[in-house]
């Protein structure tokens, strides 16, 4: 695959990744947010495959495959299973109104592009605009975690943030060493499992929500 075509594809995929993150932020229902993050992971995997084809680095193909299996199928499935299991209301409970979150998101994306302009030398020829998009994805994931009350949606934010880290990694280094990528994925899976089990246990033993923990005083 020619470098020019790869740059263009990565650019378009960056736009799609940004859009799917906005969908997570705009989702009013739990399932929509989960589906949106699954879609985002699919786009990330495609980006990995495109980069793998462009650079001839076989590790990126493996990463793309793992991303599809783990992040696009396994983790969303786990989240949906937990939601079905604990039977909570399906609405997302935002801390600040969703429209305000969207406004903040627009500011964050503009900021990410503005700031990464000063990182000129880091930008690589093949990945073009991927660095600012990756930074924006990380920050938007953090925004989801900060502005939602439910633990499950905060997990969705964590996945979005993690996807951003992957995309940034690809953009800057054209594929980190395989062992590091697998380690990061394992971390996320482990975190998701622990959080899922925690949510289930908290729910079944004391019938409360994560947000109520804030009221605890030592």
């Amino acid at each position: 695959m020619s470098v020019d075509l790869a740059t263009r594809l990565i650019d378009v995929l960056g736009g799609l990744l940004l859009f799917s993150t906005l969908l997570i932020l705009a989702a009013g229902q739990l399932f929509r947010a989960i589906y949106a993050v699954a879609v985002q992971s699919v786009f990330l995997a495609i980006a990995g495959a495109v980069l793998g084809a462009a650079t001839g680095n076989p590790d990126l193909w493996i990463i793309a495959g793992i991303t599809i299996v783990v992040k696009a199928i396994l983790l969303p499935w786990l989240l949906i299973w937990v939601v079905r299991r604990i039977q909570i209301p399906r609405e997302i409970e935002p801390v600040i109104p969703i429209n305000a979150t969207l406004g903040l998101a627009a500011g964050i994306v503009v900021l990410a592009f503005r700031l990464s302009a000063s990182l000129g030398p880091v930008r690589q020829a093949i990945t073009g605009n991927a660095l600012p998009v990756g930074i924006a994805l990380i920050l938007l994931g953090v925004l989801v975690m900060a502005s939602r009350r439910k633990a499950l949606v905060q997990m969705v934010g964590l996945f979005a943030s993690d996807n951003g880290i992957f995309f940034t990694g690809m953009a800057v280094s054209q594929g980190m060493p395989l062992i590091i990528e697998i380690g990061v994925i394992l971390d996320v899976v482990l975190g998701a499992l622990v959080m899922g089990i925690l949510v289930l246990r908290v729910r079944s033993s004391v019938d409360t929500d994560i947000a109520d923990l804030e009221d605890l005083r030592g």
Binding site: R8, D11, V12, G15, A26, L102, A106, V110, F113, A117
Partner: protein, 316 residues
């Protein structure tokens, strides 16, 4: 090129657009009916409705001012005028074209039609008219700036706000010069098109239930030929929005000269694009519930943010 021929072409394609408008509505209604396992009305039903309305007499509220009579005609005139600014079949590149107006004028005329419609609804003094007008203007407040930004995002890349030049220039570039901002602008336009054509997540075109209607609420006081004018304006506005999306993002197959083959190709491309976009509208309308009015700003907020980012990414 001879000026008369150019004007003839522009008028011909504008007329084609106005004539096709009701057909698009009929197609969407047919698609919805089929998805609900109904036979549905014929594709030509909107034309029959228009013909029926034109034959009827007019009844007018006592409290309406004389201006009320003129409103349907003005709304229709403002909407139909926008059709001459779009590349429908012909998009001659370069200077071989008369300046008919650009995207800014197009959006302004649509806003003018919306304003006139709302004024008419307020003028008649009906309670539903006032409510419909207030809701329509609220939606307009969210849709219009977002649409401006989405159009500007594409216009910045093309270096002109003239839609015909834009489409002609872009149609020649490899892969239509698609970039990330184009994608975001396209998503924004698709979200906004649902609102602007009065389709289901925002408005319900099939109902006259007072609590759910936006656009229909403003039409209640009109009757007979006046109502026919406004309904035709609604059909035209829908096809104008769809053609605008096609012109901005898929300017393929537009004819440059006037050979029959080229024109046939352009006609086929036009039908394909309208078919795809109308199917999108029909599918969305069949698979979503209408949003509560206070949730609409959240839905449109997504379009607004996408449009803003499309413009911001283009400039940064």
């Amino acid at each position: 090129m001879d000026n008369t021929a150019a004007i003839g072409k522009i008028v011909a394609q504008a007329g084609l657009l106005v004539l096709l408008g009701p057909l698009v509505t009929g197609f969407i209604q047919k698609l919805k009916a089929r998805l609900q396992c109904r036979q549905g009305a014929s594709l030509w039903q909107p034309y029959r409705d228009l013909a029926k309305l034109l034959r009827k007499g007019t009844v007018q509220s006592d409290s309406a001012s004389p201006f009320f009579r003129a409103i349907p005609v003005l709304v229709l005139a403002a909407t139909v005028t926008t059709t001459v600014m779009l590349p429908v079949l012909w998009a001659p590149a370069g200077a071989a074209r008369l300046p008919m107006g650009d995207a800014i004028l197009l959006l302004a005329l649509l806003a003018l039609a919306r304003f006139l419609c709302a004024i008419g609804a307020l003028d008649a003094g009906g309670a539903f008219g006032g409510m419909g007008a207030s809701r329509e203007m609220t939606v307009g407040l969210l849709v219009e700036p977002a649409m401006m930004m989405a159009v500007f995002s594409v216009a910045v890349a093309g270096g002109t706000t003239d839609l015909v030049h834009l489409a002609a220039r872009r149609g020649m570039l490899p892969a239509l010069a698609w970039q990330a901002p184009d994608l975001l602008a396209l998503f924004a336009m698709l979200v906004l098109a649902l609102a602007e054509t009065g389709r289901i997540p925002v408005d319900n075109p099939d109902t006259h239930l007072e609590l759910t209607m936006l656009h229909e609420g403003m039409l209640l006081e009109h009757s007979g030929p006046g109502l026919a004018c406004i309904v035709l304006a609604t059909h035209t506005k829908q096809i104008v929005i769809l053609t605008l999306v096609a012109a901005l993002f898929f300017p393929l197959g537009l004819a440059e000269g006037s050979e029959p083959l080229e024109i046939a190709l352009a006609g086929g491309a036009l039908f394909a694009k309208l078919f795809a976009l109308a199917t999108f509208l029909g599918l969305v309308e069949s698979s979503y519930a209408k949003l509560r009015f206070f949730r609409v700003p959240q839905f449109l907020g997504l379009g607004l943010v996408c449009a803003f980012l499309a413009l911001a990414l283009r400039i940064l």
